[in-house]
Symmetry: C2
Subunit: 362 residues, 2 copies
């Protein structure tokens, strides 16, 4: 029997609610497979900061170090509330970015996926969704503006200024390109390389390295697309994409646009993979406005579990079952209040009920 | 009688075709008003580079310096063709950015506007468009990553690297905020401040200065929104926005997403305003794939003329007439092949015919 330790960082806002549902799914998987999951809850995010003065406490680091995989809920506070925490201790800078850096989780996989049967969730017309959207954003996660030097001060003219750096070296680009090409060659063999080489020198290097890696994957067709053009295309014809690769900040923006075209960020799980460790998280924020109301859909969190099963534990079949179970619940006509409007013909259920129904299906 | 000199930079790709239609409109305005336009054509972009070795030749600079306003077509080549020009001479780096810098056109206004009657152009469902989309993106245009220092080289480990800087000082932020608040106070008194302060220090300063300027405009309601959340919201509920203000790169991406939700970048004119000079341009590229085919819609270029009439020549009434004329042509059931599919019930007309019909309406 395999034993896996999973660090559970429930996070802020709706985090604990949707994490609880994801944990239910892990229990089912454990019961019916020759596997045991040791769940290690740990404090992370604004809640941890208020508890202990650190958004990523030592003890949480120790638990994560020990874990075979990490399941992380969304973190963060509302714009106003976040002013209660000093800038550098805010959970994004004080916990999430340090987590990414600690485990060098350079490859962030964000599926933007909507089967035809769920087209009604999308703000896009059915003819745009066609047979369904099924693309994967591969986002570089530990470089670029996110991790470059930052300087704030007052310049010679007495003006406040800020300067931050966007940095990449070829090895960082090389490793994310390898991931993107590998995935593309397993899927539809089509890779959209998203860049801004008409302005950014970093994109010039990005494209150079991309062309070098492309030689190892002659079967993959590469389409180069400017990031702005990609933002247009994601609205106009998302079905043209299969795998898209891009640097950190572009990936942040376009993946949330991806959530937009699906109809909700609540449909966006993700995997963040490093050389030795991976963590899994929804792409969305902690949604403080709907926290505690038992209405947030746990799809992104349960989907993150599915990605963990596949990537960290080689349980591809069970991962597929989890996806199918969630789609089954939607297909049965159920939805949650964050995803659907009352009167849209669905039966509205709570976060907990959604989790229960997924478990039943499984 | 007023005399205005207008530099005409027709640009690359579809530029000359759509510029010709915009010039027709200028002639009509001239005929029926107490105004004369001296049109000064000048080479700009890849075409200028191939002709003279410079994408922004001295003579063009002299003409622009002298002009009261500049009408600029799209520039640039396809990804493959652009490799024929050294990186720093490519028209974006060699002409467009120098133009913006030369006239310090820090305020870029990009209307994202679709009356309910044109909702069929949009990939969004009619219920998302509602009574129509009518928002204005106010983009900072001469700062940030676009104009920061850039360094490419090989580091101590022998790896190629690149480092570029995102810089802002408070005066740059202050001036764009003034523009945004002023506009918001003339419109629906609602300003969305788009930022990424949970990661970028530049956004921290951005928000600080925003709050200072906000005090001068107590009548304007400010909503702070992360750039990634804004990318989601532009798909899910674009009608929530009226004026949105953001830094350069965010504005590049979100305004093209704006073109996506309208149904085409061809519906995106823009105004680029500096302290002493303004230029007007479509937000889209030169579309080399459809150049020379007489199918590109000149809306964005004629719309840029409308913005010029209003902003540079105080001819607000005529500007309104131009908008109305274009919408009238669409309302009569005409469209161009870049905007509409054959069989969508519209009568397909050419670039030239569209221009002619606008002129007729005027
Ligand atoms: C919370 C924030 C720091 C984070 C990011 O910008 O990467 C989030 O938006 C995401 O996309 O994972
Ligand atoms: C052509 C390019 C340099 C330009 C930009 O990035 O600003 C364009 O995309 C735009 O939006 O005006």
């Amino acid at each position: 029997m395999k034993n896996y330790k999973i660090a559970i960082l429930a996070g802020d806002g709706i985090g604990p609610e949707i994490t609880a549902e994801a944990v239910k799914v892990l229990k089912v998987i454990e019961e019916r497979n020759d596997v045991s999951f040791e769940l290690l809850p740990a404090a992370f995010g604004a809640c941890a900061y208020f508890e202990s003065g650190s958004a990523f406490p030592h003890q949480t680091k120790a638990i994560c170090d020990e874990a075979d995989a990490i399941l992380k809920g969304p973190i963060g506070l509302s714009h106003e509330d976040s002013k209660r925490i000093p800038i550098d201790e805010q959970p994004e800078r004080g916990a999430l970015l340090p987590l990414r850096r600690r485990y060098n989780t350079y490859a962030n996989f964000r599926p933007v996926s909507l089967p035809k049967s769920l087209a009604h969730f999308s703000p896009l017309k059915p003819e745009i969704i066609g047979e369904g959207i099924d693309l994967m954003i591969v986002r570089e996660l530990v470089g670029g503006l996110y991790f470059g030097e930052k300087e704030m001060g007052v310049n010679d003219a007495g003006l406040r200024y800020v300067r931050e750096t966007l940095e990449y070296d070829e090895s960082q680009i090389h490793q994310i390109m390898q991931q993107a090409f590998k995935l593309a060659s397993k899927r539809r063999k089509l890779l959209h390389n998203i860049h801004k080489s008409n302005v950014l020198k970093s994109s010039v290097l990005w494209n150079e390295v991309m062309e070098e890696v492309a030689k190892e994957y002659p079967e993959v067709q590469v389409v180069n697309m400017l990031v702005d053009a990609a933002a247009t295309a994601l609205c106009l014809k998302p079905t043209q994409f299969d795998v898209m690769v891009m640097e950190n900040m572009f990936g942040d923006i376009l993946s949330d646009q991806g959530g937009g075209i699906l109809g909700s960020l609540g449909l966006m799980p993700s995997a963040c993979i490093g050389p030795d460790k991976a963590y899994y998280e929804p792409s969305h924020g902690s949604a403080p406005d709907i926290a505690g109301k038992n209405i947030a859909n746990p799809y992104s969190m349960i989907g993150s579990v599915a990605m963990m099963l596949e990537n960290s534990f080689d349980m591809e079949a069970e991962a597929k079952n989890v996806w199918a179970a969630m789609q089954g619940v939607f297909a049965d006509g159920y939805s949650t209040a964050d995803l659907s409007k009352p009167g849209s013909g669905v039966t509205m259920i709570s976060t907990v009920e959604f989790g229960d129904k997924v478990v039943e299906k499984l």
